[in-house]
Subunit: 203 residues, 4 copies
DNA sequence: TATGAATGAGTTTTCATTCAT
DNA sequence: TATGAATGAAAACTCATTCAT
C-alpha cells in the first residue's frame, strides 16, 4: 500500500514537473494537456487519473512549486544569516540572501508569478510543518529582541511583499531598474521598515 | 472628419468598456470575443475593425484603464496633499490619499491586477503628457528638498510597489490583514523608506 | 430577411437530412457529429451554429422527421379512404392504407422508433396547422356519426397505438409474425375497438 | 463447486442490480461501466470476468429484468383470474390484473421500455420453462374454448402489444391520458379483439 | 464601415477495454 | 478470481479569425 501510494505520488510529481517545464517555455495558456502528457510519456487518459482537469493541475503545480521554492529560499537565507552578530546584521544578510535566491530561482518566478505571494502570504499561517519550523526559526530572533508576535507577522508580510514585488520585474525584465541597482535600496528600505515597525509597536 | 474620428473613438471605448465589465465578472481567459461583441451590441467582424486581435484589445484596455485610474488617483492624492506644510506631512497625506483611491477604485484592481504595476512602473517614463505633468508636480517637492532626480525615480518606484503590493490583497481579499489594519504600517514604512533613501543619497 | 431566414432553414434541413441518412445506416449512438458535418459538407463549427449540441439535433430531427412522415402517411391514407361509402368501410380502407404507408416509410421507423408515438400522441393536440386540419378531416366522419369529441380522441389514440405497436416489429423484423400475416387481425381488431368504443360511449 | 457457481451468480446479480439502478436514474447511454463497478463495489477488471462487454450486460439485464418482471406479473394476473366463471370474465380479470402489475412494476418500464415487448414477444416462444408453463396455463382456457393454437399465439401477441403500448405512456407520463382514464377502454378493446379474433378464426 | 455566417484547427474530456500483478 | 492503473482512440465542443455581402 505505501509502495503503491508513493509510486502514484512519484508519477504525479513527474507530470507536474513536465508541465512546469512547458509552462516556463510556452506559458500556461499555450500549453495543452496534450503537450503535457507527451512530455510526461504517459497516455492522455492517464492525466485525468491524477488530475480532475487542467485547472486542477495548475492549482496543484503552483502551490507545490511555489511552496517548495519558497522553503528552499528561506532555508538558504536562514543558513547564511545564522552567524550574524546582532538583529540588524541578521536581517541584512537574510534579505540579501533572499534576493540571491530569488535570482537563482528566477525560473520559478516566471511560472508562479503573482502566485508566489499566495504562498508568501500563507507563510505566517504555517501551511506545512517545514514551513512553520522555518518561519519560527527566522522570526525567533525578533521575538527575543522584544517584538510582539503580532508585529512580527505584519512586518514579515510587509517586508516579503516589498522584496518580492520590487524584485519581480527587476529580475525577470531588468526594467525599469536592474536588480543590482535596486538591491541596496531594497535592503535598506526593508531595514527601515523593520526599525520603524519596532518603534511603532513599542509606542 | 473629426466627427467621424470621435465617433470611431466612441465605439472603441464602448467595446473596451464592455470587455472591462466581462473581464471583471469572468476573467480574461474565460471571456470570448463573442461575449464582448454581444455585450457591445456590434457584429463579430466589426470588432476586428477596431482591434487587430484579442490581445490587442487586452493591451489597450489595461493601458487605458490603469492609466486613467492611476492618473485619477494621483490627481486626487496630489490635490489633497497640496497644502501640507513640510515634506513629511506632504508624503503622509499623499500616501493616505493614494490608499483611499485604491480602495475607491478597487474594481480596477480586479482586472488590472498585477498590471497596475505596469503603469506604475511606466510612470517615471512619462507615458503621456498628463502623467508626466502629474509626476513632475508630485516629485517636485522632493527635488526642491534636495533629493536627486535619480534617487527620486528609484524611491518613487519602490514606494509605489510597496503600497500597491501590500494594498492589493488587503483590499481585494481582506486577507491576511485588512487594509485599515495595515494602513498605518504602510504609511509609516513608506516614510521610513523615503527618509532612508534620502540619507543614502546624501552619503 | 426572409431570404436569409429561409436560407438558414434550408441549411438546417440539409444537416438534418444528412444526419437522418447516417442514423439509418449506423444508428444514432454510432454516428459522430463529425460524420454528420462531413456528410453535410460543412465545417465542424457550423454545426454548432445551428444546433446547441448533438442531442439538440436528435430532438429536432425526430420531431421533424416523424411529424413529416406522419402527416404524409395520414394524407395518403385519408385520400385513399375518401370515397368510402360508410364509416366501417372508411375505417377499413384508412387502416389498411396506414399500414401500407408504414411499410413504405419503414426507414423512418428505424430511426424514429418509439418516438413515432411521440408525434402520434401529440396528434390530437394539433402540433401544427397541417396536422390539425388532417386530424379534423379524418375524425370528422366519426363526429358526424355521433361519436363525442372525447371518445374520438381516446379511440384515435388507442387505435394508433395498436396499429403502430403491432406493426413496428412486424415491419422492421418480420418477427414473431410477418406484417401480412398480422394485417387482417390488426384491421379487424381496430374495427372492433372502434365499434366497442362507440357502444361504450352511448351507454 | 456448486457453491462457487452460486457465488459467481450472486456477484453477477449484484452487478446487474447496480446497473439496473443506474440505468433507471441516468439512462443506459449516460451510465459508464465505471459507474457500475463503483456502485457494485467491485474492481473495473472484474466486470469483464462476468460480462463480455457492456452490451452483453445490457442484453442480459434486459432479458433478466423483463423476464422476471413479466413472469411475476403473469403469475399474479393468472392467480387473480383463476376463479373466473367463464372465458370473458377470466380475460377481464386477467387484463385488469396485468395493468395493476404494470403500475406496480412501473420502475421496470422505465429501463426496459420498448424492450419489455422483446420479452412479451418472446413469450410464445417459451424462453424458459417457467414462462412456458405460465403461458400454457393462461392460454389453456382459450384452447379448451375452441381457439386454435395459431390464433391464440397471434391474439396473445396483439393483446399484449395493445396493453403494453397503451399503458406505457399512461403509466410513466400520465399523458395524454391517465391510466385509470384509459383502463376501461383498454380492457374493453382487448375483449373486443379477442372476440373478433375468435369469430375470424371460426370463419 | 458594418455585418454575421462560416471556418477548422485546436482542446478538453470520456470511456470501453486490457493487462501486469 | 480479483484488482485497478494504464491506455488511446474517439468524441464533443470552442473560439479567434476571415470574408463575401
Amino acid at each position: 500500500m505505501p509502495a503503491d501510494q508513493s509510486k502514484k505520488l512519484e508519477k504525479k510529481r513527474r507530470i507536474i514537473e513536465s508541465a512546469y517545464q512547458l509552462f516556463r517555455e510556452k506559458n500556461i495558456y499555450n500549453t495543452a494537456v496534450d503537450d503535457i502528457v507527451k512530455a510526461s510519456g504517459i497516455a492522455r487518459g492517464t492525466f485525468y487519473l491524477y488530475f480532475k482537469d487542467k485547472s486542477d493541475l495548475i492549482e496543484q503545480l503552483v502551490f507545490y512549486k511555489s511552496g517548495e521554492s519558497m522553503k528552499e529560499m528561506m532555508r538558504q537565507a536562514a543558513s547564511r544569516a545564522a552567524d550574524a552578530e546582532d538583529l540588524e546584521a541578521y536581517a541584512t544578510v537574510f534579505i540579501n540572501a533572499l534576493i540571491d535566491s530569488l535570482i537563482e530561482h528566477r525560473d520559478v518566478l516566471t511560472v508562479v508569478n503573482k502566485n508566489l505571494s499566495v504562498v508568501f502570504r500563507a507563510f505566517p499561517a504555517f501551511y506545512d510543518e517545514d514551513a512553520e519550523a522555518l518561519y519560527r526559526g527566522i522570526t525567533g530572533k525578533f521575538l527575543e529582541a522584544g517584538y510582539t508576535k503580532d508585529t512580527i507577522d505584519r512586518l514579515a508580510y510587509l517586508v516579503f511583499e516589498l522584496i518580492s514585488a520590487a524584485s519581480y520585474d527587476a529580475i525577470t525584465y531588468g526594467k525599469p531598474f536592474g536588480i543590482e541597482e535596486l538591491r541596496p535600496l531594497i535592503v535598506s528600505a526593508s531595514l527601515a521598515v523593520l526599525r520603524d515597525g519596532f518603534g511603532r509597536a513599542e509606542a
